[in-house]
Subunit: 365 residues, 2 copies
């Protein structure tokens, strides 16, 4: 962002904030004068706690790839701008995870640590999610665990992490946090903290016998939150899972656990010929298993049909307030029974509205 | 297209044609001089039969939305530029349909009728496909047949078409052809000509008892073929079906036959709660039924997994020849078991290369 863009975004955001909080014109003018002065002098300004909370909710509401946005206003915002060392951040994130998990009824939460400042990048989380399972590639080319985590697992090992003696498919990786000098720090999540759900199937015990499991709470930790021209590179957030994320993608993708052939055999489906549609049938059963297991465990999860309906409600509500909704069709449409989900039948554009979440400042920022 | 664009496209196309036919430089120069002169004098030029056939194949190869492009070079091109009256076009299209259907092993064919010329639009087919089933909306708001055809059915009736005494869900609509003066002509397809497949299920007789059927050959008839700056508004083409087109979309979409709840009940699935994933399971069974029925009838059909594999082969072959492939992800990815199809995992762009097929000159041309 150029200096002028930053100024523009700041003003647009403060206006939005003032309007939505029914602030009067003089109070907006006062705040804007203050922010403009700070930006001109230091290239930076500090959000008030209210601005921060409002901005984080808007970032969620604006993110084109998220189907769960009906609930944007219920986001719980933890203002942690005074927490800057890796150790302190990690132990605070443990609290975040605990609060989000609760008794299984998952709360959507974001924790926001110090922002970028001119010439100073603060600590940030390098791990893609707080909880991730390791992936091990052995000499024979066989993989145990999550193929997508092979590189992260290698990095963790090179930094001194020791996998369990018996490597398993669901070994939880340490969290990697970079400090302000780009040095990496490794932290192990206390074992009691990570709620996991063993995967069983409502009728097929052979699926349960596969010994699958997944964690309860996805905490995305590698995105940058941008609000009013200020970037927060360390702002991990969580929602709850939609079943297809685990069943149709994490378990089924060839670049992840690649479990379709194995699961098909256990379901007595013949994984030989495309025309039996064994992949389609297996995907449905894996989704049923995952939904069933989370329900049985009392852990919040949504199925893709309900999520699609809720997204349509979100669209309707937003339109009613006169706002245009950003949407990225390729992300929003579930990877399973796609055309049976209403969101499939709607055209969308990603307006790249700010506030928002970005993956990498290089390509999206 | 402006006059200059037309000239550019003509030259680019003739170069491609010459290169792929290993023509020598003088013969290309001769042809280009001739075409340029014709374009400057009459705003038009005539393709040679070889150019026409080559151009039609390229249009298929370039179309971003088609997953079946591995077979682009096998397209059979019927040069019918001397057939211009609606009656003659219709009876020739009956021959096209007969040849494409054959004994069930479907041939991919295109029939090309006279092109646009400056100030003169020739006859063209108004119907979206040669074969379409009627849709009737009764006073109570109930629909018999294909909801997407309600408007076309109304138009046909207003032009004098009489539906059968007992309206059914699979009444074949007449073909509407517009003559050069935009007058509509209606033609009934001879009943022996339209091969249809009754839909049965490999194990569930309740699905067969629904009395579903679909036609063997999809002949898309409302697209404009554009080659080297010349537009052919009447160039119906056919391939064969991919099972999801019928099972996941035509039968299942709420804007088409909306059969998911009815089929679910027949499969003893409970269409009440999203969480049973009854839609996913029903879609798989409908696809199985459609695949099974076409196979049993000896009518060519491809499943979405095989089609996706073939498309990946097409991508690889095209890359090997140094050509970039146009792709529209939202069209190419099957609406069923999407992420289990490899095409899901590839980024694509629609390069809008010509020759190509367009729906409407207003929006794409
Ligand atoms: C409340 C329940 C939620 C559900 C069911 C939900 C659902 C989803 C799904 C299915 C995806 C696509 C994931 C993928 O394909 O990899 C997604 C992406 C995303 N969601 Fe949500 N979400 C929820 C909460 C949240 C919250 C609380 C935030 C932020 C405050 C958020 C922001 C995002 C972002 C930024 C992405 C893109 C992630 C990426 O690029 O990897 N979501 N969401
Ligand atoms: C040989 C077997 C073929 C298969 C399996 C196939 C498959 C498909 C599929 C699944 C679609 C998407 C349809 C939809 O979602 O509505 C499509 C679209 C398309 N295909 Fe093919 N295709 C085949 C042959 C052809 C041929 C012979 C041509 C032209 C010469 C062609 C040109 C197109 C075009 C232009 C579209 C876009 C249609 C539209 O916009 O409505 N295809 N194809």
């Amino acid at each position: 962002l150029s200096w002028l863009d930053r100024l523009d975004e700041a003003r647009a955001f403060l206006e939005l904030h003032a309007r939505s909080h029914h602030a009067n014109a003089p109070s907006f003018q006062r705040r804007w004068a203050e922010v403009r002065r700070a930006l001109m002098r230091h290239g930076h300004y500090d959000h008030t706690p209210e601005e921060l909370a409002f901005g984080a909710k808007l970032a969620w509401r604006n993110h084109a790839g998220c189907i769960g946005r009906l609930f944007w206003d219920s986001l719980l915002v933890r203002d942690r701008r005074n927490t800057s060392e890796p150790e302190a951040i990690f132990s605070d994130l443990c609290r975040h995870l605990e609060d989000a998990t609760g008794d299984g009824r998952i709360r959507s939460i974001i924790s926001i640590y110090p922002p970028m400042q001119p010439g100073r990048r603060p600590s940030y989380v390098e791990s893609a999610q707080l909880i991730r399972y390791a992936g091990y590639l052995d000499e024979g080319g066989c993989v145990i665990g999550d193929r997508k985590a092979i590189e992260a697992t290698r990095v963790a090992q090179s930094l001194g992490w020791n996998p369990p003696d018996r490597k398993g498919p669901f070994d939880i990786l340490p969290v990697v946090i970079r400090d302000a000098d780009e040095r990496r720090h490794l932290f192990n999540l206390p074992s009691g903290l990570v709620r996991e759900v063993p995967i069983t199937h409502p009728h097929c015990p052979e699926i349960a016998a596969m010994g699958l499991r997944w964690y309860a709470v996805p905490v995305v930790s590698d995105m940058i939150l941008t609000i009013g021209g200020i970037d927060y590179p360390c702002a991990p957030f969580n929602g709850f899972y939609m079943c297809t994320e685990i069943a149709s993608r994490n378990f089924a993708d060839r670049g992840r656990y690649d479990l379709l052939p194995k699961a098909a055999r256990r379901l007595q489906l013949d994984p030989d010929s495309h025309e039996t549609l064994w992949k389609d049938a297996t995907l449905t059963e894996l989704n049923r298993a995952v939904l069933h297991s989370y329900q049985a465990a009392g852990v919040t999860m949504v199925d893709h049909h309900t999520a699609s309906d809720q997204f349509m409600q979100f669209l309707a509500r937003e339109s009613a307030t006169g706002r245009r909704v950003s949407g990225d069709w390729t992300w929003l449409v579930p990877p399973q029974a796609s055309s049976a989900c209403e969101v499939f039948h709607h055209d969308m554009t990603d307006l790249r509205t700010v506030p928002n979440f970005y993956r990498s400042r290089g390509t999206d920022g």
